[in-house]
Every structure is written in structure tokens, then in C-alpha cells.
């Protein structure tokens, strides 16, 4: 949960007027061109190409060159000389001053965990890995019934990104743990690609075996030793191992890809892992505006969530949730019913399952028909929802810090610290990533985030215009002015404000009365009924004063039944009054559910009429 280490870049101080930046995602490589026009920097052209981690290329730089070639064609600027990026600029139409990049091309995190007893330390290790957002591809245990060579073969063939070793209570027998370390050493685990780094291995078992494990695995792996996840039989201590997994993933695994070494040689500044770069941007927004913020970057293999509450920054990477490589895992985690609930038409289970699996095996494809788009939007809602739950579970106050408890806490005591995410205090949600940035209509991004996060009271929403936050994050480390200029003018698109009273009621029952006073003095007075979704146009840069008078059982932010007045900001969508209930209410009966979805989608003109 700590920020990834970003080494201060060293670069020469020539004027930087033309910048090409790429983000090598797991599925798509996105390139943008930034040029200094007059006194300010602007993002001018954009290109993208599939990330080339598959045969026959198996070289991430091929996708980079393809994406830059697209910019060349659009901008008529010569940037490539064969497989080389021309730096610095030679003239007004040749070369760029610097090439920078972020990377998350390595995709999700697939781990193997080991324990001594399968349903004790093995399960604890599995829980630690799942809690860190990994996909556990196997649990090896001394008593799992497999012979040593079968375990060794399994480690080799599965090619895990990381191994978590646990086993034994502190002070207990060390034999089985050492035996497992021997098997791992015999397997000579290697990273999936390249030899630029050793396979990360975390040891979180019996502390008495640490010396022997170091001796056996210290040379062969990038060994990290942390506290035992099962120090005594009846106590589970997952946080240290979980945090270690998270940090190592960001620092060592995520950005790696076939051809990564070549990419390092091409760039003019150190490559940043995508979540580290996006985290920088999110943190900057929150600090500059003094806001409580939740940010999300939903990618193909991972979904990264960022939050800043009361100045405390947190970042989590759910390396098991995404819209291409990990799409089937969203189905496995969320369950079919949870995905189906957002689809505004009836579709049989078999067809939906086949479509999701086809996206998993062909991750670079895009929806071509409206129903395919609606299915992807349904899956995105669940990926966003699950990633926020994951974030909430990890963004907690420090464990062990004494917390004042009231009598009500007795019923929901949290064992590992209280989450810092307070949706009532949330000011702004920022969305990024392909499915949000490239949604054909901005309202689609807004509603996806509202449905997934269920913001309470008054919440502003914004989206990364064409997905360039990673690029700007790495740019901010070398040229803050360029990053800020582009961020303000070309990147951040304010969608508008969501007003969602807290409470539930039957469809058609009164929820609240409200009044909107626009900048020009125009006033709108209306009623919000449960089941309503009401949009109002309020342009970006405009403000309005909104007063909500909720019914007795409903809370608009000032307490049940209390009126609340707030200045709200507009955006490309505007104001959205959400009377669908908090918690969100969706009819259980399929035809009623489809009817409700269609009513809401029509109310906000979500999709073209088909």
C-alpha cells in the first residue's frame, strides 16, 4: 500500500517542446503527442495499437512503434527512423524532444502460495494473496498429496509471477517449510519473460526457518522475508504479507513484459508503473483542490483504485479485475447474476458466458454492436464495484491503533482497522481507463461510476478525456508545467454532479423536493420520487445552488429529513438527481428489472435508440 518507488529521473535540460508519451497497457498501447503551442503545452495527436506481448512479436516495443506510427500518420510529423525514435527535434516536423512511458504490460498478478497444512497455513497464504488482489493459481502444501517432482513441475509449468511461502507457527518444527523451500529451489522459478529481474518470493512462515529459507532461496529468487501469517495457530496476521505482495507487484512485476529491456533503452526518463503515474495525478488533484477523492483506472488486466481522504493517500491494485485478460475473473468473482442485473435486455446465460470467455481469449477486441457495449458496461460496473470493496478493505487506519468505539460498533467491529473511505465525505470521483475514457457518450461513464460506487449526497464526477493520466503522471516528474497545462486543458473532463439522497422507498413514493438556482437566475423546483433518475443540463464551468428537502426518513447529507443546500459544479453531462435509493434498489424480477433499467437509461439518453 505504499507508493511505488520512483527514482528521480536524470535527463538533460534542453528545452522540451515536443513530447511523445506512451502507456503500455496489458491490452493496448496508447501514445500521445504533446506540443508547446505559444506558451502552453497541449495534447495534439493520439494513436493506439494492440500491445504486442503475443507471438509472433513478443516485444512490447513493437506495439509502441505501431502506436507512434499512427501519430506520425495523423500529425505528418516524422518521429520514427526505422525502429528508433528521433530525439531531439530536428525541425518543426521531425523528431520529438523526449520519449517517456509508463507500463502495466505485464498484466495481472498470478501467484502460487505454499503452506505446510493445506487447510491451515495454505489457506491463510491464499487469503493473504487474494486480499492483495492476486489470482491464486495453485496452493502447494506438504500434505496436498502431490509428490515432490509433481510440485516442482507445477511451479515450472504455471510460471507464477510471485510466490508466497508460509508454513509453521513461530517456534514450531521447521522441517516441512525447509522441504518446500527445497522444492521451489529445485524448480528454479523464473519470471515469465526476460531475465532482467529475479522472481519475487515472499517468505511469511515460521520465523525460526528464516535463516534456512534465506540460505536455500536467497540467491535464486528476489526473497523478501516478512512476519509469519500464522504466528500461532489461532491467530492470522495477513497484513504484512499482503502489503508486501502489493508493493512487490508494483515495483517488480506489473511493468515487466517481453522486450521491456529494449523499452528502457528507448525512453528518456525512467519508466513508471501505470498505477504509480496515475496515483501521482490523483494525489495532485486532491491536494490542489483540497478534496476527498476516489480515483479509478480500469484496465484490461487490473483495476487500480486511489483515494485521498483527509489528506491521506491510498492506492490499491486489484490485479484480478479487468476488462480483457481478467474479464472472466470478474464473472467468477461477481457471479453471473450480479453482471446480468445491469444488462437492459434479456440474454440467456449460455450466450453471455460464451461472450465473456471469447473476450478473455481475444482480449484486444472491442464491442461492435450496442448489445455488446451494454454487456461490457455491465461487467465494468461489477469490476469497479469489486475493486472499491477491495480498496476499502485495504485503505484502513493502522491496525493496533486504539479506536474509540460506541455501542453500535459492537455489531460491526472490524478486525483489521477501520476503512478510511467515507462515501459521505467524498467530493469527487475521477475515472480513467479504456472503458470509461472511451465510452461513446460521457453519460455512460458517469452512470457506470454512479452505479458501481453509489455515491451518497452530493458528489462531483470527472473522467480522463482520452486516457492520458498515466502519461501525464510520468510527464509531471520531468516537466510539471507541461503536465499541468495538458491536464487542465485536455485531460480532465468534468462530467457533473450527482445528487443522491440516502434512504430507500417504494417506486413512486416521494424521496425529496429540490430547487436549483442556476447562474443566470433561472430557478427549477421539482420533486424526486423513488425510482427517478433526473438529469439537468449544467455546462462545464457553470455553477448552481441546489437545495434538497428530503422526506423524513431520507438523508440528503445533513441528517434524516434535514434540508441541505450546496453549490454544485456542472460538466459535460450536468446535474443528475438519483432517486434510485441508497443502498441502490433494483427490482429482483427479471422483466421488472429490464423495464427499470430501460426507464433510467432512456431518462438520461444513455444509449442510441436501436
Amino acid at each position: 500500500m505504499t507508493s511505488a518507488s520512483s527514482v528521480p529521473p536524470t535527463f538533460d535540460r534542453r528545452p522540451v517542446n515536443v513530447i511523445v508519451a506512451t502507456d503500455c497497457g496489458s491490452t493496448t498501447t496508447k501514445a500521445i503527442l504533446i506540443e508547446k503551442i505559444g506558451d502552453e503545452y497541449r495534447q495534439t495527436y493520439r494513436g493506439e495499437a494492440p500491445t504486442t506481448v503475443e507471438a509472433p512479436f513478443e516485444d512490447v516495443t513493437r506495439g509502441v512503434l505501431n502506436a507512434i506510427a499512427e501519430i506520425e500518420e495523423l500529425s505528418q510529423r516524422k518521429i520514427l527512423d526505422g525502429e528508433r525514435i528521433i530525439t531531439p527535434c530536428r525541425d518543426a516536423k521531425t523528431g520529438v524532444d523526449i520519449y517517456i512511458s509508463t507500463s502495466s504490460a505485464g498484466g495481472g498478478l498470478q501467484m502460487m502460495v505454499t503452506g505446510v497444512v493445506q487447510n491451515m497455513t495454505g489457506e491463510s497464504a491464499q487469503r493473504a494473496a487474494l486480499g492483495a488482489g492476486a489470482i491464486v493459481i495453485d496452493v502447494l502444501a506438504s500434505n496436498d498429496g502431490r509428490l515432490p517432482h509433481e510440485k516442482i513441475e507445477r511451479i515450472r509449468s504455471m510460471r507464477p509471477d510471485m510466490i508466497l511461502m508460509s508454513g509453521g507457527t513461530d517456534g514450531g518444527a521447521v522441517t516441512h517449510v525447509v522441504e518446500m523451500a527445497d522444492y521451489i529451489a529445485a524448480a528454479e522459478p523464473r519470471p515469465r519473460f526476460g531475465l532482467t529481474y529475479k522472481l519475487p518470493l515472499i517468505y511469511a512462515g515460521n520465523k525460526d526457518a528464516q535463516t534456512q529459507v534465506r540460505k536455500i532461496l536467497g540467491e535464486k529468487t528476489a526473497l523478501e522475508v516478512t512476519d509469519n501469517i500464522r504466528p500461532v495457530l489461532e491467530k492470522e496476521n495477513l497484513a504484512p504479507a499482503r502489503n508486501k505482495i502489493h508493493d512487490l507487484f508494483l515495483e517488480h512485476v506489473m511493468q515487466q513484459a517481453p522486450g521491456y529491456k529494449k523499452l528502457i533503452e528507448m525512453t528518456g526518463a525512467p519508466i513508471m508503473p501505470t498505477p504509480a503515474a496515475v496515483g501521482l495525478i490523483m494525489e495532485t488533484i486532491a491536494k490542489r483542490e483540497h478534496l476527498n477523492l476516489i480515483g479509478v483506472d480500469i484496465g484490461g488486466a487490473t483495476t487500480d483504485v486511489f483515494s485521498v481522504f483527509e489528506g491521506v493517500f491510498n492506492r490499491t491494485v486489484s490485479a484480478n479485475l479487468g476488462m480483457s485478460y481478467s474479464i472472466s475473473n470478474v464473472l467468477a468473482e461477481a457471479g453471473l447474476a450480479n453482471i446480468m442485473r445491469w444488462v437492459p435486455f434479456t440474454i440467456d446465460e449460455q450466450t453471455l458466458r460464451n461472450r465473456i470467455k471469447n473476450k478473455m481469449i481475444r482480449p484486444t477486441t472491442i464491442p461492435q454492436t450496442l448489445d455488446e457495449l451494454q454487456i461490457e458496461h455491465a461487467i465494468a460496473r461489477e469490476a469497479l464495484r469489486l475493486a472499491l470493496i477491495h480498496h476499502k478493505s485495504l485503505a484502513t487506519s493502522l491496525k493496533g491503533v486504539q479506536q474509540e468505539r460506541t455501542i453500535s460498533d459492537v455489531f460491526e467491529q472490524q478486525t483489521s482497522g477501520r476503512t478510511l473511505i467515507d462515501m459521505r465525505k467524498l467530493d469527487l470521483i475521477v475515472g480513467s481507463g479504456g472503458i470509461l475514457s472511451h465510452a461513446p457518450r460521457r453519460i455512460q461513464s458517469m452512470l457506470m461510476m454512479i452505479d458501481a460506487y453509489e455515491p451518497l449526497g452530493f458528489t462531483m464526477l470527472s473522467v480522463d478525456s482520452i486516457f492520458m493520466m498515466p502519461h501525464l503522471g510520468v510527464l509531471s516528474t520531468i516537466n510539471e508545467k507541461a503536465a499541468t497545462d495538458v491536464f487542465v486543458r485536455d485531460c480532465m473532463i468534468y462530467l457533473g454532479t450527482c445528487v443522491a439522497p440516502i434512504g430507500q422507498g417504494k417506486d413512486g413514493e416521494p424521496c425529496a423536493e429540490y430547487q436549483i438556482v442556476f447562474d443566470d437566475g433561472r430557478t427549477v423546483k421539482d420533486r424526486l420520487l423513488f425510482g427517478d433518475l433526473k438529469p439537468y443540463s449544467l455546462e462545464a464551468g457553470s455553477k448552481a445552488k441546489v437545495t434538497v428537502h428530503p422526506v423524513k426518513s431520507v438523508d440528503a447529507g445533513a441528517g434524516p429529513g434535514a434540508s441541505m443546500t450546496r453549490d454544485v459544479q456542472g460538466g459535460v453531462v450536468g446535474l443528475l438527481f438519483d432517486g434510485r435509493g441508497r443502498p441502490f434498489q433494483l427490482p429482483a424480477e427479471p422483466s421488472a428489472r429490464v423495464a427499470a433499467l430501460n426507464k433510467w437509461y432512456r431518462a438520461v439518453d444513455l444509449y442510441p435508440k436501436g
Binding site: E70, A105, I152, R353, R355, K357, P363
Partner: protein, 373 residues
Amino acid sequence: MAHSYTPGLAVADRTVIKRRRLLPLPGTLLVKIGDRVRSHQTVARAELPGKVYPVNLANQLSIAPDEIKEYLVKKEGDTVAKDEILAENKPLIKWFKTEIRSPVAGTIESLSEVTGQVLLREPPRVLNLLAYIDGTIVETIPRQGVLVEATCSLVQGIFGIGGEVWGELQVAVASPDEPLGPGHLKPDMKGKIVVGGSFLPAETMARAKELGIAGLVVGGIHDKDLRALLGYDLGVAITGSEQVGFTLILTEGFGTIPMASKTFRLLSAHNGQKASISGSTQIRAGVIRPEIIIPRSAVTTDAPAEGERTGIRLGDAVRIIRDPLFGKIGEVSALPSDLARIPTESDVRVLEVTFADGARAVIPRTNIEVIEG
């Protein structure tokens, strides 16, 4: 803007491939560089030391530990069969005789006059590393394994489950759009690799298991049948170690999708020949796809090394890999450079595909794959 495209899977009539074969433990190589090997041939062998079983003779015979040698029937280093007498006492009355029998077959590794224990070790387990494909050894890695090279026909699948198997290739359907029904499977297909057409229903999977069919190669299956077969929902595409009774390779995807005619023609042309297949799939950076390898004679010199493609071109054969035309095959007939608006309202790079019947369709470039080979 010819760069945004998805490279297709290999469907090559003749190519040269290399496969690395490694032992899980250090062992002995049984072949040398230049040797011709067959898929089922052992190329290296390792021995996994047998398990150790302690037997406390002193306790069981109620004697002092330093007396055990006097009661032993066998001595250190001797082999023993299961239930063979290890030690016995010699009482005056036969009725009081105690015999200690070996709980396992193995050898007597050691005995201790301090603890009164005998350590028995089971025979080593021999691990044979097989060649997997018919080919030639081109590299040896001392004590670890070999590199096998083969001239072959190669078909890559899109997804598979199960490990390496080999057997005679048997095309069981008449056309690539014919589903592989249970009736297509016959008892004489035991141990063979059966090629179907567009779809493999659950009943055929059950029949294949019953008949002992080694491998199935088909266009598509339903995800729900895969879930039933595996017993769980596959979250990410990392497979290869499943044990469902056969190895399964999909050439097209999930649903009923006719096998690409080029793939079907190639497999049909080798009907009756031996093939090695692996269902191992890893769809993530550093992709592994399932494969069907049909050995060919290496006499001709036209086995091409895989050439690097620089982009998509007019006339290229392509397969559409996303609904609504998923699985259809055609030729690229136009490559407009401008963005085009598709029914989702997205503006994307597209191309035009012309199908065999003359019909045309505009498809996002990311939704096609070039048919390689």
C-alpha cells in the same frame, strides 16, 4: 494506419519448431545431439529418492536398542519385499514368537543401535522425460534436458485444456461446420486425436472420456460445458494441468463456430497420421497457445522460418473474432485510413471484409485476426 491488427494463430503446412524438454530434477540424458527421437521416447531420466519409513524394532520386540542386530533377519543394504520378515525373536515357546514385517518394499538403509530403529527406503521413483514430438535433438542441457527440433505441420489453437498427448489424427466429421456428436466417436478411436467441426457438446465429451480418446480438436464449446467439465469457473486462461480424461483444443472460441476451413483442410490432409498435441494455454503477457504438431519429413528444404509481418494488407485472409459476425472468414477489400463510426457510436479504425458470397462488412481493425501460415 495498417499497424493496429491482431496477429493470427499459426496454421502452417510446413514449418520448423523447437521444443525444450526439461526434467524436474537433475538426472541422466539418454540421447545425444543429432539423435532422431519419437514422441513417446524417453530422452532423459531422473530418479526421485524413495520415501523413508522408520521401524522401531527395539520397541516392537521389547529389547534394548543395542540388541537389534541379534534379532535382524536382514542386514543393512538388503532389499526387502512388503510383509517380508525384517526381524524376529527366538522364544523357547513358539507361541511367543514375534515377527516384524516390512511395511513397504525397499531396502534397509540404516539401523541405529542407539534408537533401535531401522530405516527402510522405498525404491526410487523413476521419472521419464518424453520427447513429446518426433524430431531431432539439436541441443542438450547436461543433467537437465534437451531441445528437440521438428519439421512439421503446425496448428495453434485459441484455447485448450489438458497436457501433452499424441496419437493418430482422425477427422470424424465431413465438414468444418458439422458439430462433433457422440455418434461420431467410435471405439476404435481409443488413444487417437479426434478432429471435429464447429461444436463439441457435453455428451460428446462424456463419450470421449468413456472411449479413452486422447485428444479432441474442435471449433468451439459452450463455456457452461467447460465449467461442468472442470468443476469450476475458469477465472483466467491459464491451463495445461487439467485431468479431465482427454486434452481439448479449441481452434475458434466459445460457442458454435465452424472451424476455419484452412485449419480443417490442413488437419484433413493429415488424417491418419500421427500428431502430438498440448492443451496448455496462458493468455497473458508471454502467451502460450495450445498446439497440434504433425511431424513431416525433413527432406525438402522449403520449411520456412516464420517471417515477420509488418501490417495488414489488401487481400489478406482474415477471421472476424467478435460478434456479430464472429467466426466468419473473408478477405480484406479496403483499408480506409479515416476513423469510422460503428453502431456503438465509437469512432474507430476499420477495414472492409469481403466474404466468399460477395457480401461486405465494415469491421473494427481490432476485431479481426490475420489467418497466418
